[in-house]
Symmetry: D5
Subunit: 113 residues, 10 copies
């Protein structure tokens, strides 16, 4: 997996970047039916920032992939750590109702912990 | 009570899973009339995650059961602890208006406390 | 089926009464799973008005009945016509999402048409 | 019943005045418990307009009166016709939920019909 | 009263212009206390359009003027007719709650009626 | 004052119960006019829970009582402490606009402080 | 294309059925990127009603199909006419923002026109 | 001015296409300051449909153009008629608050009128 | 400046009183044009509470006074400290949009700091 | 860059000033297309406050400037520090959806850290 990055324009400062994709879709591995959700990526960059258009294409790779809510959240977290090695990172996935139930998964990472 | 669980796909990481059922209904033991509410289950998994469809069927067992707001909240908390032995757990029940009054019950658990 | 009615307090005037039950539930005859919805009854009374508490108990009779959206809407319309013989009547049922789809059924009646 | 009125400042023009009281309360004659609602009065004045403060005091007279939804709506309609003899008038009462059911009553009047 | 106008840029076409001032205030002539509201002016221009900044200053003239809801609505309607002689015009004033009551006045004009 | 209570079904656990009455009304002792508001009671039960229907009747006792916002809030706090001796308690009263001003009063109690 | 239908339970009455799918996705044939939208189907049944689960699977067939907004709307309209031969039918597609622009397409059909 | 169009995929049917651009900006010719607004284009196509990306670039041409609200609305209406010769067309521009006033302009066209 | 106060009915308890005036208006000293905003006063009373009607009249004194956002916020904070000598106090002013910009000022005080 | 400032009217007190510009626009350096967003500036003034009209003109300088989200946020932060040397400062930029993704950047500064 290669996602385009660019140098952090303010590397000496701790600040927070959030990208919210309201058009995420993957496939339930159990039923084969699509899942729909919102994916939020919030991070404090170190030397690298994630390029926005590249991030869009990264999300598209899940469109026909069978993967559970809990797994997709942790996979995105792991991928983003590899891609831009941030100081801090949080990934939140919020899923549309299934069987009357809405689900949200929230995972985070802090460098050095 | 047996609710299907599956192995936590990221057991080495503390992260939070939330399931919100907006279609919960039980019966008031005093009046015999149905109560309607939203039940939220928020937990940090240890080794096991709760399977979503199984959770739906678990909630259905309350449909014709006579039980008070305070009791149903604590029963769900106790059941979830038994089912998946989480690191942390919170159960919130929010009830539709009765006699002009909306009620919310919130109970939580932390392993080792 | 007997639902309590009372004499229209303003029989010489055409006016409109609306009752909205946001806590309607019945059972899907195909899956056996509960459906949840809002039922609206809007009518122009002739000689009789529907008693509110009796209406609540009438709705409760659907709680464990297996019946499709389209049927339940037409059944309520037919029952209300028998109960209070109104000048005009409209029944609207709005159902919570199932399989990503929200459904609404709307049926109406006008005396003499 | 006497409600202060004042001369219509634009008697040659058909225009519409709406007053919405969101703090209406009366008593259910069956249970003795209070009902709460919003009362809307919408009229096209002829020679007289209803004074706002007087209208407030008129509404207060229902505070401890036992009266059904349908009756209170028609009583207010009749009273307003007597008080200001409008060209057109509509009264809408919207009631807070009772037994899971919200009710709305809507009655209107047109001079010469 | 002089409000700046400008030539209608599309005089051969019937189209609708709406200006909504959410910061209108005048004074109640009975209590001396300020009233606050939103004033909407909707018109089909004939040969002239109302200049927006001039309209703002026109509204400011009411700031310390004692005038009732019904009167202010009709005065603005009359003034706008004089200023730009429109094909159609509607003035709506919506007032903040006084004594638990919200009021709205709506007056309109059509050339040649 | 006697309000029905029942034994806490989970006495060994600290959890939070909230009841929100959106239909509270009392009387302003200065003007004799009614006040309308929402009263929230949030508590951590010790040995006793407050019965919901009894709470509704308790609130009704204020309907025709003349009492200021600040006083009613503290009176309810004191009464609830006597009734169920909770570990923690918070009372919030939120009042409808009077003279263009919305008021909120918030008082709390913690056993042993 | 075969979508399961079932006999209209109230064939002698004109009434309206609406299904809203908030999880529709297809692919832009120009860019190859996914489009997301809401599809509404509103119809007056004649002899047949559309089965809800079958409708869900019908929508899934567009998931990886390249098709423009205007075409997908008309295709769904044509398909539904063939499937259930309704008295009246309306299809509305509302699309998420692309290039700062939200689009909505609305097409309808009436038997015998 | 040339905006790309494409053949109407359902030329024998009257249906409605709406594009809403929430990111429109032009410049006030009086003050030189930018105006911001939402532009809605709603039309019934005849033989041609407007291409969405081309429409986006058309809107961008106003970014640094000095033009009044009323004029820009009529210019867009005239341009769209020339571009796609629709059966019906409506253009609505809604502008952000200036001097406490929100403005909306609404112009429409019907072929053959 | 004299604003009526009354004795705190629960002087031995720390609790919080909030008054929100959504109808505040003053004048910009630079342009002479009116500013509109919401003023919130939140305090923990010591021995005295602020009388609500008196507070309304206090706010009215700003109606035709030329004063900047930052100054009016600090002036109200200073005045309230003098009037009722509270344990804690916070003043928030939120202003309607000017030149596309909304402003909020927030100042607070704690006795003994 | 020179932005007009004025002396803090309450220099001995720590208080917070927030300005929110909902009409910010700049240009994407990659595509040449405009970006739209909301810019929030929240600061605790030391000796100087930022003049509101000057701030509006400062924001206008970005209208045709090519600059990325992350850079514009840090540039505004640096500029504001130079202009008014505040005790604390936070800049938040929230951007309209691009490629289905909403972005927010949040950077802050504290004197002496």
């Amino acid at each position: 997996m290669e996602i385009e990055v660019f140098p952090n324009p303010a590397p000496g400062r701790n600040y927070e970047i959030t990208h919210v994709n309201q058009e995420f879709t993957s496939v339930c591995p159990k039923t084969g039916l699509p899942d729909f959700g919102t994916v939020t990526i919030k991070y404090v960059p170190d030397e690298l920032c994630i390029e926005l258009k590249a991030l869009k294409y990264y999300f598209l790779e899940f469109r026909n992939k069978g993967i559970f809510y809990e797994a997709v959240t942790n996979v995105i977290l792991d991928d983003m750590i590899k891609v831009c090695n941030p100081k801090e990172l949080e990934v939140i996935t919020e899923w549309k109702v299934r069987g009357g139930i809405n689900s949200t998964i929230r995972a985070s990472y802090k460098k050095g912990e």
